[in-house]
Amino acid sequence: MVIRLPEVDVVAVGGGLTAAILGKVLGDAGRTVVALERGPMRDTVPDFQSPSMHDELKYSIRHSLMQDVATQTLTFRNFVGQRALPMRQLGSFLPGDGVGGAMVHWNGQTWRFQPEWFRLASWVRERYGDGFLAKDVTIQDWGLTYEELEPHYDFFERVCGIGGLAGNVGGSVRPGGNPFEGPRSSPYPNPPMKESHSGALFRAGAEELGFHPFPVPSGNSTTHYTNPYGLTLNPCMYCGFCETYGCEHFAKASPQTVLIPAALKTGRYTIRTRAYVRRIEHDPVAKIATGVTYVDARGQEVFQPASLVALCAFAHHNPILLLKSGIGEPYDPATQKGVVGRNYTYQTMSSVNVFYDGTKRINPFMGAGALGTAVDDFNNGSFDHGPHGFVGGAYIAAYQTTGRPIAHHPVPSGTPRWGLAWKRAVAQHYNSTVSLTVHGSSTPHPGNYIGLDNSYRDAFGDPLGMITFDFPYNDRLMSNFVTGKAQNIGRAMGGRDMSVSWLDSHYAIGPYQTTHNTGGAIMGTDPTTSVVNRYLQSWDLHNLFVFGASAFPQNAGYNPTGTVGALAYWAADAIVKRYLPSPGALVPT
């Protein structure tokens, strides 16, 4: 017997960042919003309190703030034809669980995508000609421009109190900032973080080579800051416990600190925890979503009717829900037809370690998630791809995020993996090593997609989602090119030794890389190649909106949160101003 609840205006699947934005914006517009969160309630007090929060084993190794893969997981394979196996432990990426979602345990690195990225296919054609890329680089235009999104980037940065040094305000390039960023309407609301010693060494090396170092834009607040909703952030204490942790200092922008209290204050936003959504219900004749069915904390199946359904779950979860609900045409890699699950992309990561062998004291434990110095000279819009034959790029950064004892023990290549020699090497290099991150873009490939796997079932008896992914040739070329540049910077930094972690030949789901899964329910201009239109509105059901990074047609060489937040404000704005006054398709087909 399914419990049927009274209808609400909006039901959001997920209780993280995008649901909180929707709750605030639509709550202000007089609409009731119910967010269904699969995990528990979490808040700064009592859940993120020190000293228990600084428990590396509990939070980083055992993933206490993350999705429980015993309840629901995915299967994975590298290519079509390989047998997909279930992900029984978290590894490559760490979807959040509980109120606040992955934005509780993020680092705070808050980037904007370069303008070229939003019309990548057109840009490549105009700049490099028709035959520049192989046919299997299935990049697309987003259907909206950087200029349209800019006010929402700006507002999201003010909500989060981002600290940084603007490199381009209104088209005029500013010293010290990122000269390759798109024009900003205003500078960052807060000054940048203090530069770490590793950042200063990186800066010197990068400048020597003529590059343009700048502080990474940070969601770890640098001042006492009051955001446009009247919510306050405290300055970051550089404790080195951001990624995989909640912040006890009220210093990291998270839904708990910068959004949820304001959304709840509207009186129309409700977060229902321990609510595991199984499917979106829809009426194929009327072409509308009617609500969602979820399993509540007591194991009861509940139907929540709503006039508008918003998918605000983690990136790959949105397309999986669409597939399980039978909404939209599933992507088929054999015919390359269909849209749901198409253009699943990720992030192409590599790194360089510079070993100073005791001659520098880095103090890596004095860190913060977004404490870093970066160069953007090799991101997509910064250089000429002409001689290289690939598209995309990466930023290179020296991050000083942590010196936590389990995670942080850099040793030169060739060091034994265990025993006395390893221990000696750890002691020698722990405090004297700088790590450079190459944060690369990810272009789509027809073989990379999200589907369903009926061989395995989750705790509710539903099929698991299935990811098929490997690094495309285009991205390997890109990664090797930019990693080579990072290697040059590493050399210029004057260490005694250096090791380079080039991109692995195949993607593996075991080792942690990034929680930047993107695509699968992509936005675009054409219903035959995208799931949602430029307002994140489903082409099939006009009252269904799909938020989050699942909308990215391809992933840029940046962290996605800034763009996820800006897109959510853009879409929420369209819902309030355009959709609600006259419900229907916002883009004619």
């Binding site: 808040d43 700064t44 007090v45 309190q49 020190s50 405290n234 300055p235 009220f250």
Partner: protein
């Protein structure tokens, strides 16, 4: 955390004996001379300038009273920085500034190191009403989330034990001193805090809440913390060792010594 506690235990355990001085300097990479010259400044005035010794206000044992803070067992870098802040005027005090200015950098380091090496004050008395201390303890553990005050413990450690080098110990500080500092921050008269964290915190607190946390921290002790750890490590029943704040003669916990603990298994031969 364990390292910090270990340091407290080691200081508490060895101070007052002839071996103590050498022990501290081995761990602090200082020199015997600097500890002795720090002691001379603390108890007898500056080596180079004739001036009243620190002990005149802060007590022979460095434990302070009333408006004078306890320096004993405080983090050495924090003490050093505080003296430099007084000297530069970043932290205002017409009393402390002249002293701080007369000390050379080496002397400042020496006196800071000396006080850091002293055993911290014991929890000798419960300050204020139990309800007040309870309220203060709750603020210490959970903050005042409604007004954005983080828990004191997030920086100053559980029960105010401090997190060296930056965050001072609050445990066993005189209640009047603690309340004075919070009020000075509230009025904008207290420097030495580049991010103004304590200013914002104190402004969000009522006078009654300030009194509560001051009473709470005045009633806690680094020593009882150390003693509690000691009792855990020696597996004594709670109440014997933990109830006794005098831990000078206590054996060092096993992880501070190179010998295996009593009863520990012999290392087995490789198989």
């Amino acid at each position: 955390m364990m390292m910090r506690l270990a340091a407290i235990v080691s200081i508490g355990a060895v101070i007052g004996t002839a071996g103590a001085v050498a022990e501290i300097f081995r761990s602090d990479s200082g020199s015997d001379t600097s500890l002795m010259s720090g002691r001379l400044i603390a108890l007898g005035g500056s080596v180079t300038q004739a001036q009243p010794p620190c002990a005149q206000c802060h007590g022979l044992d460095g434990r302070g009273h009333g408006p004078f803070p306890s320096l004993a067992g405080q983090g050495s870098w924090y003490l050093y920085k505080t003296l430099r802040d007084y000297a530069s005027g970043r932290r205002q005090s017409s009393v402390m500034q002249p002293y701080a200015r007369q000390l050379s950098d080496t002397e400042t380091q020496a006196v800071a190191r000396y006080y850091a090496s002293l055993p911290p004050p014991p929890a000798v008395e419960k300050v204020g009403h139990a309800d007040k201390r309870q309220e203060g303890g709750a603020i210490s553990a959970a903050g005042l989330p409604g007004v954005g005050v983080p828990a004191c413990a997030t920086c100053h450690g559980p029960r105010g034990q401090g997190m060296p080098p930056i965050y001072p110990s609050l445990a066993g500080q005189p209640a009047a001193y603690l309340a004075n500092q919070l009020h000075a921050w509230k009025r904008g008269e207290r420097g030495g805090d580049p991010l103004n964290v304590m200013r914002e915190i104190s402004r969000a607190m009522s006078d009654a809440q300030i009194e509560a946390v001051a009473s709470y921290f005045a009633s806690t002790s680094l020593r009882s913390e150390a003693a509690a750890l000691q009792s855990q490590n020696t597996e004594r029943p709670v109440g014997s060792r933990a109830a006794n704040p005098e831990i000078q003669d206590a054996p060092r916990p096993p992880y501070l010594t190179r010998e295996p603990a009593k009863g520990a298994a012999e290392p087995s031969a490789p198989r």
